[in-house]
């Protein structure tokens, strides 16, 4: 368990602290920190790592108190591996020397330099200087460095932000596996990473911990700041994936209803997985009370309205179910009234777009 209650004031006269983070995190797997830019995610992890000592309060990691009223354990004693937003490789050392330096104070890291070079794909870069590397290459090495420090807690601040999409998809499974070996705090803006990596999420909003919990549940909660994300949506599991050669597209089933997996063409040649996770943004769902004909919309699910909640003025959020799984749809207040939508009504949900999150467990 990682418990913290940290606050920082700008001036003495201020009544409410500028930043106040309070919460406790289960140290199993990856906990993602999610929130707007400037909400305070990086400030929180820096304070937890002991890099900023201008927070008052307490931090407790497992049975060790890292910060209290009278004591402050310095970063070097906290055994934390950090992947910063920027790679921060030492410019005067080559890749190998950078990594060797990380092992100086580490007892028994999980992987050797050689193994990491293989997994993270930088075996041929070991003798290059950091200035000869691309942003993505540097970041892979920064990840390896944090692991070689043999940390008891890993902190990653948007580690994949500088990588292109194929590299991101390549590294995500490894990060997920790593999270099972070392408890990890992972800052991201990317919903795909969030849903793929974590079962625990820390929602940060305007310098406060707004909620801690399962991302799927938090994204369902209309009271949280997450609803302002136009893209907020839910993960849905698709099974019985098959290839449709006629359309050059994969298809599958959601609770027994057929769906075409648009946006999945890129993996045509590879063996298809059994199950996939997709995410449908709430703004990408069109609600109809009767089937829509003569349109390019391909995917339609028959759903039951579970709940209708007002969001901002003129917009409502519908919670829909296909039986076992849930969907969120954002529609205008006008449509809500004109279509006479109400809970328990069965309607057609047309899906305009989806993103493939990854293979389901």
């Amino acid at each position: 368990m990682l418990r913290f209650d940290l606050s920082k004031k700008l001036g003495e006269t201020e009544l409410l602290p500028l930043l106040h983070f309070k919460g406790q995190i289960q140290l199993t797997g990856i906990c993602t920190l999610f929130g707007d830019s400037g909400a305070g995610k990086t400030s929180l992890v820096r304070a937890l790592a002991g890099l900023d000592d201008d927070f008052s309060g307490s931090v407790c990691f497992k049975s060790n108190s890292w910060q209290g009223e009278k004591h402050f354990v310095r970063t070097e004693k906290r055994k934390i591996g950090i992947v910063f937003q920027e790679p921060r490789l030492f410019p005067h050392l080559d890749v190998l020397a950078n990594l060797q330096l990380a092992g100086k104070k580490a007892d028994a890291p999980l992987y050797t330099i050689k193994q990491l070079a293989e997994i993270l794909g930088f075996s041929d870069l070991l003798h290059k200087r950091s200035r000869q590397l691309s942003g993505g290459q540097k970041q892979r090495i920064a990840i390896a460095r944090a692991i070689l420090r043999a940390p008891e807690l890993l902190i990653m601040d948007e580690p994949l932000a500088s990588l292109d999409k194929p590299s991101r998809l390549e590294l995500l499974p490894f990060i997920k596996k790593l999270g099972e070996q070392i408890p990890t705090l992972y800052i991201t803006h990317n919903m795909q990473e969030l849903f793929y990596l974590s079962r625990q999420m820390l929602l940060i909003d305007r310098g406060r911990v707004e909620a801690i919990g399962d991302p799927n549940l938090l994204f369902l909660d209309a009271r949280l700041s997450l609803v302002k994300h136009a893209h907020s949506g839910l993960l849905i599991e698709v099974n019985k994936i098959t290839w449709q050669p006629m359309f050059a597209m994969a298809s599958g089933r959601i609770d027994g209803q057929a769906i075409l997996l648009t946006g999945y063409q890129e993996r045509e040649e590879k063996a298809l997985p059994d199950k996939l996770q997709i995410k449908v943004a709430s703004k990408d769902i069109i609600i109809a009370t009767r089937p829509i004909k003569h349109s390019s919309l391909q995917n339609c699910l028959q759903v039951t309205i579970l709940q209708i909640e007002p969001l901002v003025a003129g917009v409502a959020l519908l919670t829909l179910t296909t039986g076992k799984q849930k969907l969120l749809a954002k529609i205008t207040r006008k449509s809500l009234i004109e279509l006479k939508l109400q809970p328990n009504l069965v309607v057609f949900a047309y899906i305009k777009a989806m993103s493939i999150v990854g293979e389901a467990e």
Binding site: E76, P91, K105
Partner: protein
Amino acid sequence: MLSELDSSAILLTLKLAGLTTFILLLIAPPLAWWLAHSQRIFRPLIEALVALPLILPPTVLGFYLLIAFSPDNPFGQFWLSLTGSQLAFSFSGLLIASIIYSLPFVVQPLQSAFANLQKEYLEVGAMLGFNGPERFYRVLLPMLLPSFIIAGGLGFAHTIGEFGVVLMIGGNIPGETQLVSIALFDHVESLEYGQAHLLSLLLLGFSMALLVVIYGLLQKRQRALQYA
């Protein structure tokens, strides 16, 4: 050829410059770090004191040191009771004077290197488990090695070029305080132009070579930073 006096003056000069540089490389880093990061109100005062030898006529510095070194003065008295010998016209006196005189040449390159060093790298050092002293010799020193070499080189070269201060406090005792610059002055005064040429040429060549090495290092570092 070099006379025995001239070669002993050269050896003495190298010894003085070497010792001065060594001591300065111990004193200057913490001082430069403090100057680069302190927000104390009296920092400009200390900074000005350190930089003073850059603009003050060396004879002024020499004059005050001569007074301070005199056994009538508390400092001179203290030294005399401590070591049994007086500071004026001694090698130790020259050494103290050189340290003060060359201090800004060592402090300033280090100060600007420390000020430009991104503290992010030190955070990485802490993350990797290094405490303060370990961060100094495992991160800061190797990363800023060119700056340390430049600082040391400038301090060394500047000590060799000392004249005014030496004239005031060193006197001209062969083997004890007679440095190359003073020996050269003697040769010119006694119209021994051949000897003077030889010594001048040696100083010129040596200083030039040293500066080329220093500026070569600067250029290399500039190139490295451009692509960092």
